[in-house]
Symmetry: C2
Subunit: 454 residues, 2 copies
């Protein structure tokens, strides 16, 4: 670790880092004019002047360092970018500055999207207002609200407008949005399931008024057993449809809509699988805005006290990028069902009575025979097929021999960092990387974005 | 951050930290003999000489620093102890050295238990061998194995030996262990549920042999509807019993047994609640060593493909210590059911389509009205009542006004760091801290163990 091999002639580096940490703009500028290479230097734990300035909230210093063209994507040994550091310590003006791209727009940095819940399916544009789920009057009022938005689902697939005729991954889907008048007859049908998704988040929360127009729009999801052809007739736009490849099409939404789809589809999938009481086998009734099912058998245990049988199920899954002890290779596997040439992170369900770290060790050893030591949480991603929470981790291997469990995966292999970088660039790709919408993609990108400390 | 305010006269500190990082034992010893106060000094990110030596695997340096009485409990700005760092970078000989207490025994450090899954219910002493669950022949052979261990449960409560007559929190419980001969008649009863827990972990994995004695013992959990009085007759020891306060008694096991109880009780609780198929309401059959229930209705959707309805449920929960923007207070709440004077971390279930970070922000705002910005994962804990995974986080508040949702909690309050420390010490306690077996206790301890950077 060169950043730790200090020597007398590196005192200048220390003075420079110190100036950035103290917010001494004059000294930072002076020293940079003397030696521009200072801007690349790191101190303990790989902290750059930019990170130190960001950590301590020194806006002018961060601005000056960026103006001098420092690399805002570099990470410290905790794999944090300056953006992550500014965000974590709550210096918003600085994280906004660092989050901005050269064209001035606000975009997410490779590292940042992992720390800031910017994985696909992860953006929350609605306030769930879960307390309102038990307020029948409020909910019914919202249902008929003039600006209320309805999404239509059939077999848990949302009706969409396909923005491109061709069905390539490039083609983007947009949710079809309906008003109360268009769907109110559907709401009367017994087989219809209605989910209250929430209200649109507002920058400045406005005091609620009787006038519906001045309140943020409420969103509902509706799943019916009505024939999809019938449903499509409700839609004026020509190119509305229910996707032919439901799961693949769930990856074609904008970040905003993907988050809404993740919520709606997970809850609807629960209703389609859990319509009977698992404790006694009786039928159940939908309650609380679609977030509860109560057993209709008044003698059922599930009615005494609070039981998870009555609430939507979320399955926690660990997904991990395993790093070779030499720090320069990662372990990826492929399942038979994968597209040709694609390799991805190993993953598996967390079992009862298991920590996520133990689940990572167990799954990696079961699937690949590789033993794992340290495990580090990176970020997570809801995955609405049907309702998983993918918990993304980096794991450091303490053994390297691979012995694949063919029931789980077809092949597992160590890939050199350079092979991974080439595969991202598409230059001499050693394998196909999973799509950007997956946390596996983000974990791999995160790793190659990291410095050589890990 | 004084550790960042470097000046010329602190170059000596840098040389000292550098020597520790490079593993230069001579220079470390020489400089310490000149100025013993060096041992307390920190570099960027609050890294001490001990941490740098531990990070780079320099055993003699770590040994020397400990011999000079350095504080091995101090943490860097990522709240890692030297023990955590050595563990994370895989330097076992060093983490063992740092994990040792003054009396020579191996105990867990305040910070370490969070990073090393040493929360109560978190220790894995059994290898689950999940691949063997489908191997009926192997499982049946194990069931009658001479060294196989059986645990008896009634209503998901384990039969225990109480090591102390008084029923104080002090009293420890020990699991009653049985051999095949004692329970084999129970295994024939239709209402009995049998769970394969795994085999005891071995330092050196021994090649499996036909001779059962030479294999590590297999463990099973048995839940029956047989009258507990009848069950107790099977037990030679006088002081065997089924706890009067089942949940409280689950906190009285050793770390080793607590992990086994967490696994067994979670799976048994799932069987007791999910004995009917939620998709069609039919009865189900137990399979795969107690880790699967299949619908008996051959037309059921749940039999086509893989459905979560057939597998044990784990409910992910976020539990968070919210830190005041001033970094010197934390937010704790109390429920009506809490013991008098006890305050704890806020917590809540992760909803479908939600990241754990968003769940933290939603729950804190719902329960206390406080808005949260940055969220940092710390560690997790299985909680077998019935089958939760408690995901422990630190969260930084971006607003401070408290508005409690009385449905959820009775009171929420900001506590000064000093009040929390006093409450731990029992000197002028401002409130009662949750028991050490809870991750809430560990999160609070973790926070006051941290340096003043947060």
């Amino acid at each position: 670790m060169t950043s730790l091999q200090l020597s007398a002639k590196e005192e200048m580096v220390e003075r420079f880092l110190d100036a950035a940490a103290r917010g001494d703009l004059n000294q930072v500028s002076t020293m940079l004019s003397q030696s521009s290479s200072l801007i690349k230097q790191t101190g303990y734990s790989g902290w750059t002047a930019l990170m130190l300035g960001a950590r301590n909230g020194h806006y002018p210093v961060v601005e000056a360092l960026l103006a001098h063209g420092c690399d805002k994507f570099s990470v410290n040994s905790s794999s944090q970018t300056a953006y992550d550091i500014a965000k974590f310590w709550g210096h918003r003006h600085i994280s906004n500055l660092l989050g901005r791209t050269d064209d001035g727009s606000q975009r997410v940095l490779p590292g940042a999207d992992l720390h800031q819940q910017e994985n696909y399916f992860s953006r929350e544009t609605l306030d769930r207002l879960s307390a309102k789920r038990t307020d029948k009057v409020w909910l019914e009022d919202k249902q008929s609200g003039p600006n209320t938005v309805y999404l239509l689902f059939s077999n848990c697939s949302p009706m969409v407008t396909s923005l491109q005729e061709d069905d390539n991954a490039g083609g983007e889907n947009q949710l079809c949005r309906f008003r109360y008048e268009t769907v109110k007859d559907l709401l009367q049908k017994p087989a219809t399931v209605l989910i209250f998704l929430g209200v649109e988040k507002r920058k400045k929360p406005s005091s609620q008024t009787v006038d519906g127009m001045r309140e943020p729009p409420a969103w509902f999801a509706v799943n019916t057993d009505e024939d999809s052809a019938e449903l499509l007739k409700r839609c004026r736009e020509k190119n509305c449809c229910f996707p032919k490849t439901p799961n693949r099409d769930l990856l074609k939404f904008s970040e905003e809509e993907a988050g809404i789809v993740a919520q709606a589809r997970s809850v609807l999938a629960w209703h389609s699988r859990y319509s009977f009481c698992p404790t006694c086998g009786s039928s159940t009734r939908v309650e609380e805005g679609g977030y509860k099912r109560s057993c209709l058998n008044s003698d059922c245990r599930s009615l005494k006290g609070v039981h998870n049988t009555c609430y939507p199920r979320v399955d926690p899954v660990v997904i991990m990028l395993v790093i070779h002890p030499d720090g320069n290779q990662c372990l990826l596997g492929r399942k038979k069902i994968f597209p040709v040439g694609m390799f991805s992170c190993l993953a598996g369900f967390i079992e009862p009575g298991e920590t996520l770290e133990e689940a990572v060790r167990r799954e990696v050893e079961e699937e690949s025979g590789v033993k794992v030591g340290p495990v580090q949480y990176i970020s997570c991603q809801p995955w609405p097929m049907p309702s998983n929470l993918m918990i993304g981790c980096l794991a450091v291997a303490i053994s390297t021999d691979i012995k694949v469990d063919e029931k789980e995966i077809e092949e597992a292999r160590w890939f050199q960092r350079q092979q991974v970088i080439d595969s991202f660039r598409g230059t001499r790709p050693a394998f196909t990387i999973p799509p950007r919408q997956t946390i596996a993609h983000q974990l791999i990108r995160h790793w190659i974005g990291m410095n050589s400390n890990l």
